[in-house]
Point group: C2
Chain length 480, copies 2
């Protein structure tokens, strides 16, 4: 008869203790397959515990398959295949602590080593209207209690989609039904939906230079990509070359990093290209169109499309804060039908609560107000920084371009220093900065792109522009 001491059980209940010890004895082979276990009653009295305790422990062991019962006979040890027990398996059944695993470096860590980060185009947290957002959230909690628990359709909660459609109509000249707006947890996620929607065998054409993250995403999704060079009007539609891709992804309002606005002619050429074969589409990533600082927003390619070939993608991650993960895409009618048919089984990836809060934030006019305020803020910031760069000792050697839209400008630096050297010199002064050549796909010819810094100024404080300009002038002075 098995007997346990029950003395070393520490905080465990009798039942837990019993369960673990019988289990350990089965795993270690002390109790052999087919061996009959003592009856509940006998086991209980032998160990000085209650029958219910034994019953519960046996029940658990049975549920997990360590023992089995034969009607009117009792409990027996299962054959769990002793040869299967991995050698390294600890016989106590408790896994070693995993404390040896270190937390990942945080995303910003590389940036934090520098005093000024001109690479990240995230906005300074101070500019987020936290007070208003908090108020809207509190209101949502109070007023939307019922809606917050109702499962929305795949595309998101209707209120947010209506607010976005209305916003697009008023401020972007895009006229769509709210049903065409599909909400998702970030643009990265939406890309994976688009890949599922358009089929995995399509080849994606991307802009070169372009954001490395987009290339990473497609690579990780197992999608074949081809790269396209650009001139000042956008992608160069070289004869034959355009045959290599089925889908083209571009940012026609403001290419990153080159800042190019795709010209009207190129837009029409691309739209025409898309109609020539059945499975051709264009993904329009409009990621920072809200921040065009001069004139009204550039017309969306989506609005020029009459053949249902353009998918429009935008995000609140850039226009609000990177920690609110809400993006959306607008599908043309034919693709919307396919989306509903083939991907309608998915749940929306954004929680209801933030969807309702954002809907209220947009419908209440707070988003527009925020954008206007930020546009003004960025215009002043940009003007100050450019003025200070030009008036300093660098002034004669730099030329600024593409400063009108979005949150970065380009700065050509004359001289014999290579980008690598310029970067190193800037980093020694505490400034993290990137160059056009950093955004080229491997194997590209860097020659035409050399010596052009990409200046993301959106994360700077207004007071910091003078120091940044001074530090750069100091770093890059000729005669050191």
């Amino acid at each position: 008869m098995i007997t346990y001491s029950f003395e070393d059980r520490k905080g465990q209940s009798l039942q837990e203790y019993l369960y673990e010890h019988v289990r350990a004895d089965i795993i270690s082979g002390k109790l052999r397959p087919g061996e009959k276990l003592p009856s509940k009653r006998a086991f209980a009295s032998n160990n000085g515990i209650s029958v219910v305790t034994v019953e519960n422990a046996y029940g658990q062991l049975q549920a997990e398959g360590y023992i089995f019962s034969r009607p009117k006979s009792g409990f027996y040890v299962s054959d769990i295949g002793e040869d299967l027990i991995p050698e390294r398996m600890e016989r106590t059944g408790v896994r070693k602590s995993a404390d040896r695993i270190l937390p990942e470096e945080e995303n910003e860590e590389r940036g934090r080593r520098f005093r000024y980060n001109l690479v990240s185009n995230s906005t300074a947290p101070d500019n987020f209207p936290f007070g208003t957002w908090a108020k809207v959230m509190r209101k949502t909690l109070t007023e939307k209690a019922g809606e917050l628990l109702k499962t929305p359709p795949t595309g998101g909660v209707p209120e947010l989609r209506e607010a976005i459609a209305e916003h697009l109509r008023e401020f972007r000249g895009i006229d769509v039904s709210p049903a065409q707006v599909i909400i998702g947890a970030g643009t990265e996620y939406l890309y994976s939906l688009i890949v599922q929607l358009l089929g995995r065998s399509s080849i994606y054409g991307l802009e070169n230079p372009g954001p490395p993250k987009i290339r990473n995403i497609y690579r990780s999704l197992g999608i074949k990509t081809v790269m396209y060079e650009m001139d000042q009007e956008g992608i160069l539609p070289v004869e034959g070359d355009m045959e290599r891709a089925d889908i083209i992804q571009i940012s026609p309002s403001h290419q990153f990093p080159r800042g190019i606005v795709t010209s009207a002619g190129r837009r029409l050429a691309l739209l025409k290209w898309a109609t020539l074969r059945e499975n051709r589409y264009i993904i329009e990533d409009d990621y920072d169109s809200e921040f065009r600082l001069q004139g009204r927003p550039i017309e969306a390619l989506f609005s020029m499309d009459r053949e249902d070939r353009v998918i429009y993608v935008n995000t609140f991650t850039k226009s609000l804060t990177s920690t609110i993960r809400i993006s959306y895409m607008v599908l043309p009618p034919l693709l919307l039908e396919r989306f509903r048919r083939e991907l309608g089984f998915y749940s929306c990836t954004v929680s209801n609560f933030e969807q309702y809060a954002l809907a209220e934030f947009i419908a209440g006019g707070f988003f527009e107000k925020h954008i206007n305020r930020m546009r003004k803020h960025y215009r002043i910031l940009r003007d100050r920084l450019i003025r200070e760069l030009k008036s300093g000792s660098l002034g004669g050697r730099i030329s600024i371009s593409e400063e009108d839209s979005g949150l970065h400008f380009l700065m050509r630096v004359d001289g014999s220093q290579e980008d690598r050297e310029l970067r190193k010199l800037a980093e020694e002064k505490g400034i993290r900065i990137s160059f056009l050549t950093d955004y080229l796909v491997e194997g590209s010819d860097p020659e035409p792109y050399r010596n052009v810094a990409v200046v993301n100024y959106s994360g700077l404080d207004g007071e910091e522009t003078a120091e940044v300009a001074n530090l750069l002038a100091d770093a890059w002075k000729r005669d050191k």
Copy 2:
């Protein structure tokens, strides 16, 4: 000289009106490529508007590539390739309204046609502790203002990962470092990450019958799957058969819909199987282990693994409410390294705010309290429904099984009626119900699974069990 009336401009500004009309004239060919536009000054005085207005309109047209400037000469119409303009393109440049698109049917609509839904295993919204959740959210807004705007690592905010690791240790016997916990916007999204992590060429083995959604996800992700039959202990490891898959996805604590707990022997066999080849892994979907109603939780397969072959997946979507989209996976150390290296460029898909709120909800003990309350609630609900089914006229014809864990049980219905017929009869009484045969992959032999209803009772109200039992008895009485 071009002249516009400016009378029909309605709410438009002069500048907008001018921009749109010149643009329309270029698209329509009224203004030809290469044609010189009037000077800003002349145009202004001719139309009775200010020079600044013309300047701004020209600026916009130039930015979009409709016109170009020649230094010291003036503005000219660009060649936008007239032959490229799609025939269907409306010349006003304003897109037709998309009002014809209907909103999708809402997810629950099919369910709403019925008085009682025994198919969805979503919890009744009334059971969600909304008051506590709202309090925690308000607290988060007040106390975490700074953290809410800081970009977290790919895996999520540290506080939530710590709270989950602590919860797993205390209530699930899983001992892991918080760094191994990866937060994502729903299990569906996590699957897509797992596919990217383990490689697209792997073949996934799934349980048959099983949730159709999982099959849909893998199909949509372009992944090859094979199906495995089960006996009462779990997947049958038939010789040779196990060679067909590289990854096995199972719910060892509670298979859906069969309710099977994978036995200890099978678990060890699966772990052994995984170690025999380099790229073999097991995905453990522990989707409703919190709701095991009898005894303590079944041991997680993850805890038995000593070879870094098991990925553990769980969700708060089932245990809290389906509208909070937070799930997580726990990666074994070796896969965690690969995850950081290959997928560390992704942003976390859950907004900071809900991550902090959930962290507080768990750390404050509210989650545990909620789970305990719900377990009690479900136990009472299940007991009532079973008692009422057994005591009614159906009593002699049904046998209930797999009622101890999770939020559904199986009910075999004796008789000659086919599942199809039983379903129709139930639906006529306003009850939506599914059968084991509904969860089989196409082409399976339905014979062994016939006449077993899958009863998801979690969405019922305590007061409704009697009526549901009566209606079913009425629907399925023999002599109609």
